[in-house]
Symmetry: C2
Subunit: 427 residues, 2 copies
């Protein structure tokens, strides 16, 4: 039993949506032995929501008021800027303070070093809120699935894109309308690039690779396709065939190879992932013994994210730290982009489609112009992940880019049964 | 960080479905530092699946070969018989051995004493496999939702009944046919009483009350209605109105009152719980900050259950134990059967329906005989849980029992919008 529980003194960086949420949660919840001593913020002009408990002297503009305060045990880092966050987290760990962070970009980009720092200074860094919001996926991978043989982790881990794709699929909204509605409701930033490009999901996928399979995969090695080019035509094509399109982070182990791809993906309409709607996140695990496991929860938002941060703080009261167990086990897989995947690709015309480096073509549709749907060509075929990455990289100026791409199915076997039936193309 | 990892020596009681599964899993998984030294079984005549590693000398018929063996750190109790299990677990704890058990009946019936024994002898008893099979619900309630303010835990926590109800709903099978098919596939015991009566789910619900809300609720205090009386007519009635019937364990906190009921329940067809099919289990949590969380996984079976047992064993390698945190927090709710719930009840005739102690009637349907559907009366109305328990108890010989009962909705507000529309009764 854990008997060393003590009251933790927290230093908080950032008082935006999640920071305020954490303050609220700490005021309302009982039983956690933690109090915020100091809050470091950047903007000196911003009005703060002061109260009897949240007095002006709680705030500081000087990071050292927290980092050099010996009485502060835990630094809670909840700022947007990844490079400032990195500097804060690194200094905090070096000064022997435990750290809780929700900054997936910073963590994904420095994971190797952050693991080393934790070991060197014998202090934990927890970041449950960085992946899947309120879904306790990292804790479960570390503590509960630590000895099962995982086969795959697949999930919807970005609420913004899921909200947009849900509206496009269930309310036949255009991408532009759905994005606007997401922004109005606060589910998308005014600059939604990090979300709609898949980069946010890619950072989270990188973190999941480490906790699920013990492999450090730098985010830039993960082939990532955003949802910006997904049109209503693509969504209708999928729906008519019993699928919906979701932005899926897919991490799969086959023998000793580990693949990870973030891309719009055809998901069967009767699957759990299709059922993850609007801003929710959902993650499906396949393991040798526990078989299928599925987790659903709010992927973002002030209170859900704060509740994940709070769970990390609570875990620190009994000296919990990630052990990165999977990376210490034998038979760690090797990350590879050599696997083939089956994709759906829509091209402006047949000539463009013919230039695409498919290793195998399963279906070829010529689209006739009809109302808003323009003429084009849809091909479902296999491509090596590496070749796909080459096409997508801007360093290849003369390559023809498809208008849109989605993962059709990750194995060609199941695809052949689904798509090789001859179907007429009815958008 | 947890640095005290050591290799655990296990003594296993029982070598049935789950015991064999645990043996398999331990052979295949890497990284866990645990080995089975001795397996205690009862039946001297049964053939055991011996192998190079599973040699005959692993087996014993004498419990003391495990209980008195000082070199055995952990007793893994996987036998069917709850009273023998209790004796084994109690002795093991008294002898300072950690215990892993999957016996929900034994745990639910002795939870108070088992908590005291853990404290008295400073040894942990873990039982993740007892509730929700491979779903890590107890661990999450203990470790992750320990500081969120839980409002409700609702779930499908019995795979047998869920398989039967799924077949009745999606394939229009009769209860008898669906039960037979469950038995043939191994999803139901030859004597399915404990499952179909709801008693198995009731035991699990009792355990969940403790970990979710800090309240010890003896199983017999939980109003429990089985699925034996649910007919095709009930299933069709629900389906026609956008619902399906599931055996739901529902634990809800309203202010300082805690209610828990296990009963067939009308679940909206587009909800996550409706989507839990066949032998799967699914649990939905509602909390103040993390909001809706949903977990799905295999609720039973050799390997899924063994994987939960293995996760407990793995947790023991770093001295993990349940802290029953919720029971130490302020504001623990009080268990109450005084709340009103809205139920669907089908009676043989109007006279029987008139005798039922509804506190309010929302809808009243008279059913005309039509093919296999017999004449009868369906009433949707409110009843106090206590009054329902009185009716259901066999100690009231002169009370008219409804032919079938299901929870319609737990709040009358939402019910009034759903059911008070005048609808014709079309089975």
């Amino acid at each position: 039993m854990n008997t060393n529980n003590k009251t933790l003194t927290l230093g908080l960086f950032g008082f935006g949506c999640v920071g305020k949420g954490l303050w609220d949660v700490l005021q309302s919840t009982h039983g956690i032995k933690a109090e915020i001593k100091q809050i470091c913020v950047k903007d000196r002009t911003k009005q703060r929501p002061l109260s009897d408990t949240l007095t002006a002297d709680k705030f500081t503009f000087n990071p050292n008021d927290i980092l050099l305060d010996e009485s502060i045990d835990v630094v809670v880092e909840l700022i947007d800027d990844a490079s400032s966050a990195y500097a804060i987290v690194k200094t905090a760990l070096q000064r022997g303070k435990a750290v809780v962070s929700a900054n997936k970009k910073m963590i994904a980009e420095h994971l190797d070093e952050l693991i080393a720092l934790q070991q060197q200074y014998s202090v934990p860094l927890l970041y449950e809120a960085a992946v899947g919001g309120s879904i306790p996926i990292i804790r479960l991978l570390e503590e509960y699935y630590d000895n099962d043989l995982l086969r795959s982790v697949e999930g919807i881990i970005n609420g913004t894109t899921n909200y947009i794709l849900t509206k496009m699929s269930t309310e036949a909204q255009s991408y532009t309308t759905a994005l606007k509605s997401a922004q109005e409701l606060g589910f998308a930033e005014s600059n939604p690039h990090l979300d709609v490009s898949g980069i946010d999901a890619r950072n989270k996928t990188s973190i999941l690779c480490t906790h699920a399979f013990g492999v450090i995969v730098p985010p830039e090695n993960i082939v990532t396709i955003g949802i910006e080019n997904i049109s209503s035509a693509d969504v209708v094509f999928a729906n008519n065939r019993g699928y919906t399109i979701k932005l899926i982070a897919s991490i799969k182990r086959v023998d000793s190879a580990l693949t990870a791809v973030v891309a719009p993906t055809f998901v069967p309409l009767d699957s759990q992932l299709a059922f993850v709607r609007n801003e929710f996140n959902g993650i499906e695990l396949q393991a040798a013994f526990s078989d299928t496991q599925f987790l659903l929860g709010r992927g973002a938002g002030s209170h859900p994210t704060a509740s994940a941060v709070l769970s990390d703080i609570s875990a620190l009261t009994y000296q919990y730290g990630y052990e990165y167990k999977k990376s210490k086990q034998p038979d760690i897989p090797t990350f590879s982009n050599k696997e083939k995947i089956s994709i759906y690709a829509r091209f402006a015309n047949e000539d463009d489609a013919a230039e695409f480096p498919f290793s195998e073509i399963h279906q070829w549709f010529s689209i006739k112009a009809d109302g808003e749907v323009k003429e084009g060509t849809v091909v479902i075929g296999s491509v090596e992940i590496d070749a796909l990455q080459q096409i997508l990289s801007t360093s290849q100026p003369n390559t023809v880019q498809p208008l849109s791409i989605a993962i059709a199915q990750l194995t060609t076997e199941s695809l052949s049964t689904v798509f090789l039936r001859q179907e007429s193309l009815a958008f």
